[in-house]
Structures are given as C-alpha cells and as structure tokens.
Amino acid sequence: MITVTQDPSILVNGVVSKWFPVHQPISFTLQRRDMEVLQRSRVGNEIQFKFASMPSSVKAGQTIAYVRKQSTVNLVIKSIAGNYIKVANDPFLLFWENGFINLNDALIGYYIETKVSYIDASLIKRTIGTVKTKTDSFGKSKVSVQELLKTRCDNSNQFFYNAINKKLLNEGSGFILDFREAFNTFVSAYVPSNSFYFANGSKQLQEPNGYNMGEFVPKLNFSENKFLSVFKRPTFFVGYPFSLSFIYSDLLSNFQIQRKEQTKGINGAVIANTADNIFSAERNNLNRLMLKQSYPSTVKTLDVWLESTGVATTSNRTERRRFFTGGFSESYTAGATFRPLRPIDYVTNEIRPRNEARFITFRS
C-alpha cells in the first residue's frame, strides 16, 4: 500500500490552496507500507508480530524493515508460522505504536511509479509521463513533478481578447498523479490523487506561502486575494487589448462569479457600477479577465473585482468526488497519452477541445 504523507498544498485562511508555481519544486512524499503490524508480544526469547495475512514469498532469514513513526530498524526473520513472524528479542521493538513492516528481501526490486497527467481543455485527463522512485529506509520516497508539468507551459500570449474571461492552458492547468507500486513481476493498479493545479510562474524570496500561490487563490472566506499583476494600479489604454490575469480557483466551484466594476471620474466620484457574470466553464485554470470597456470619456479610473453572488451554479464537469488519503479526488475521464505542445495547436483562434483524429496523428 502507498500513502501520500506530504503534499505541497497548504492551508490559507483555513482553506486548502492547491495551486503551485511550476518553475519551483512541486514535491510529494510517498510512503510504502507493506504489512501493518496488528499485535506485538514477547514469546520466550523472541518478539512475535501478528499480521492480517502472510505472502508466500516471505521466508525465514530474510531482512525486514520495522518502521514506527520515530524509527526504522532492520530485523532478520527467525521463523514464520501462519500470520506470525518471530524475530530476535529486543524490548525496544515493543515501544511506541504498532507501526508496519516493509519486506525488503521478499519484494525484489520494489519501486513506486507516479503517473503525471494534466487536465486538457475538454477536461480530459492526459498522461504526460511517469516517474519511478525507490524508497528509503522509512519506506518514503519523494517525487517532484514540476519538470513534467513545465512541458505544458508556453510563455506566449494566446488570448484573443474576445471573452469576458478565458482559461489559457499554456498559462496553467490542473494535474493529477496516479500512484502504483511494482516488485518482482507484480504491478499494482493505479490509484489517483486529488486534483492539483499549476501556474506558469514562480514565487520570490520571503513571499508568504512559500512554493504555493495561496495569496493569489480566490477564496470565498477572504476578500483580498490578489490578481496576478505586478502593477499597483495597471493602466488600461483605450482601444488596445487589455486583460487582468487571475486564478479561477477550484474553491469557487459551484458559485456564480461576477466581474464588478465601479467607474470613477477625475475627482474620484462614482460614475457607474456594473456587474457581469463570468463563464464558470473556464474555472480551475489561470484566466484572463477583460474589462467592460466603452467607458464615457469622463471615466479616469475604475475599480474591478470578482464577487460571488452566492447562487449555486450547475457544474459543467464531472464532480464525482471520492475519498482519498488526505482529501477528496475529482474524477476525470482518462484520455490517451501525452502530446507535446506544438505551434500547430494555436493555429485556430482559440484553444479548442482537441480533435481526436488529429491527436492520434501527432501522438509521439
């Protein structure tokens, strides 16, 4: 069994932020747990462990690693009887919690395979590649996936400034990891993780939230989440294409979001207030937000922000959620395989759901 003991998501204002800059480490810690110890006791001059079952490949004389939270020790199996293993007496083995053992000798060539997939424009899960890792003496292994995700980013401006908001997959998208373990000739089935998200950016030294975009992730319980702009007050040049980048976060799922604008004259007097619904189908990606524009000439500044109406919207995606270690997992339909970003993807005016026939042609 594999568990995810650490993932890069953090709590920001009490809610989980799962958005990471892709040019910095996105690391997950996995732990292998071969057999849970159900019971420990001293029998004569030996320590006896009880398990739920016993694989036939476990033999006397093999080395096992006994892992508890604080320690890991290598033990040699003296004898096996049914679901019991006996090892040499050591009172230290009876301390702390029951823990688990890893069958270092019985499971030859053990490794964890992590499949990295991104979510494409039509919400299909597509595999980018896999990472194989060995485990350490605690059964832990660290998997960093940013290099694979980076292949989905493209620095160029792919927005056509023709929608109130638009997701751009080259600027960031969702990703899912699938884990499986392999040893001897056995390969287990993949178990999917939660959905996580990446942005084509990086964080600076001493900024809050570390390698997490937390302060840019709009949350329903906090109203000062930032737009992705380095200007204190950006300038809109009338007649030229303008957009503000923001994270249309997973935390806004199922609520209608509006773009609110308050235009002001030269003395700061309010001229007009407007509210427009933004497209909820664009969520869970980096988005561009356009201004309403066509302002009267008296407008000198305007305030723009996003607001939730509190009205639930119907979901446009599969929202079947299932429980997984440490949270919930959203289900996506599995797609075929990775297709590298090519200029041809952007010949059409918009990033459209990928055409399957073309997809097969270009499969590498």
């Binding site: 800059p21 620095n155 160029s156 401006n157 927005f159 056509f160 400034y161 600027e171 960031g172 942005a199 084509n200 950016g201 990086s202 964080k203 600076q204 975009m213 840019f216 949350k219 329903l220 906090f222 109203s223 000062e224 989440n225 930032k226 737009f227 992705l228 702009s229 380095v230 200007f231 204190k232 007050r233 950006p234 300038t235 809109f236 040049f237 009338v238 030229y240 294409p241 303008f242 957009s243 503000l244 980048s245 923001f246 806004l252 979001i257 561009r288 201004l291 302002y295 000439s297 407008v299 000198k300 500044t301 305007l302 305030d303 723009v304 922000w305 996003l306 607001e307 939730s308 509190g310």
Partner: protein, 146 residues
C-alpha cells in the same frame, strides 16, 4: 461576497503619437500590458557572418576576391513613455520577462516576440511625480541568405 482585491485600473484615453503596444509575462504567470509612445527610434545592428576569398584565375576579368557567407541584421526599436512613478516598479519587470510581445495586428489580435535589451531601462528623473522611461527592444532578425 467579494473574492478578490479591488484592483484600481487607470484609464488612459489620450491620443498617442507613434504608439507601440507591448504585452509581457510577469513572474507570477500573469500577463501585463503597456503602451509606449512619443519618441521612437529605429535602428539596425548588423554583423558579418564571415567571408571567404576565392581563387581568381584571371585578375583582369574578375569581380573581386572576397565573397560574403552571410550577414546578421537585427532591427532595434527604442521607445519611451511618460509614466507615473508608481508604474515604474511594474514596468521594470519587462526587462526580466521571458516573453515580451509587440502588438502587430488588432483584428485578429496578433503579436510578435521582441526582446528588451539587457540593462536598457532608464529612469530620467525620480523626483517628479512623472518620469520618462526609455527601453530598447530587439526585433526579430531579418532572414538572410547563408
């Protein structure tokens, strides 16, 4: 309930002479935009891509010994803008952006990748409320035989 900060946007509807509209990727993965105007200096930097001398059998009828292999020609565009002091911090980021693009068509929107020259940012006077800044962009190289 509000889910983002209130971002104040300045609306600039003034007429511009020699406008150059630029968008660039900031470090957080967002896209910035700016309109440069006023002085716009165009220049061209060229380099020799090497030459060779050929054997001449008859010097009387020869056109010369030296032949060019290729050339490098890189157009430059210097732009300026009168900006508020508060905008300078944002505009500086254009120098270390990994993708800067210049608008070449409005409908449909089309961009061309350009490259700010290293260290070419100049603030002329920071004591004022407004300052003139100047940036030189390298445009796409001209394709030449060779």
């Amino acid at each position: 309930m509000r889910v983002t900060e209130k971002k104040t946007i300045k609306v600039d509807g003034t007429c511009k002479s020699s406008p150059v509209y630029v968008s660039w990727l900031n470090v957080y993965g967002g896209r910035e935009h700016w309109l440069f105007d006023k002085i716009q200096t165009k220049s061209l930097v060229t380099q020799n891509g090497g030459s060779y001398e050929s054997y001449v059998s008859n010097i009387t009828t020869s056109r010369g010994f030296r032949n060019e292999i290729t050339k490098v020609a890189r157009p430059l565009l210097s732009v300026t803008a009168m900006v508020d002091i508060e905008d300078i911090e944002g505009l500086k980021t254009i120098l270390y952006s990994v993708n800067v693009e210049m608008l070449v068509s409005q409908n449909p929107v089309k961009w061309q990748t350009i490259f700010p020259q290293v260290g070419s940012f100049r603030i002329n006077d920071t004591r004022q409320t407004k300052a003139t800044i100047e940036i030189t962009f390298e445009l796409a190289d001209i394709n030449i035989q060779g």
